[in-house]
Amino acid sequence: MGIRAIGANIASKVASPFTRKSTSTNPFEHNSFSGRVFKGSALISADLFQTKKVKEASKLKMMSASVVAAVSNFGHKISQPIVNFARNVKAGINNTILAIKSVPQKVNEIGKNVSNKISENLEKLHVHKEHKEEAKDAVKILNMHQISTKASVADLKSTWLEENKIEAARKVSKEVA
């Protein structure tokens, strides 16, 4: 027996326990058909071809699990500063909202003050106008010398009305007498 043959035997002896311990579901894997020709038709979707896929799936699962863990760790590590940042932002927004809410009140107060001042001034103006109108409407009775085309129609009218009143009073006094 040469060295090559010994090597081959050893290789077959060493290799066989691993093959028997395989978890594969392939029924033809344990060499029961070794040296024979398989005449049947092999299906593409048979269990024979699933071993590699299972391994790949397990690898993928491991990888995904590690990625998830890494992400969760990362999230945990950065979550505290983010929470603090979010709290600060929230506090800032609340302050801003309060400030905005307080602004209309100030504007309203300013508006009320302005409107009060305007109304006061308008009242003053109205009173002033009323005084002027009263002065205008004041009956001006003209005497004989003042009755001319230079006198205003309003004054002439008021004088005429006054004369009518005097005339009516005279008639009443005559009737009573």
Binding site: M144, I147, S148, T149, A151, S152, V153, A154, L156, K157, T159, W160, L161, E163, N164, E167
Partner: protein
């Protein structure tokens, strides 16, 4: 009618302010005193403008349509004495053709006949 009222009416008749016509219509032509109505109608005719002549021609109970014959005749006489009668004739024509009251239309027709004869 006292002197003061007479002077006021005559002054309003000469006044340039058109508001004077409204005052004459309001206080003069609605007065209970015949003399006041007569004088008021006369000064309104003498103004010889559309708004003044309209008062004494188309209004029932005023001017030529006054219930007092003295006032009506005095107003008609004043119209006959007008130098330029064109505006008075125009208003009389409109009154004859368009006024709703038959009595007013008849009075206007009579005055227009008198004007054509004069």
């Amino acid at each position: 009618m006292n002197k003061k009222v007479r002077k006021i009416i005559e002054t309003l008749g000469k006044h340039e302010d058109t508001e004077a016509i409204a005052v004459l219509e309001e206080l003069g032509t609605n007065s209970q005193d015949d003399e006041v109505r007569e004088l008021t109608s006369q000064v309104l005719v003498r103004k010889n403008i559309h708004d003044a002549l309209k008062v004494v021609i188309i209004n029932k109970g005023k001017g030529i349509n006054d219930m007092s014959p003295v006032v009506a005749m005095s107003t008609i006489n004043e119209i006959l004495n007008l130098e330029n009668k064109s505006e008075a004739i125009r208003i009389l024509d409109d009154t004859i053709n368009m006024h709703s009251d038959e009595e007013v239309r008849e009075n206007a027709r009579s005055v227009k006949s008198l004007l054509s004869l004069s």
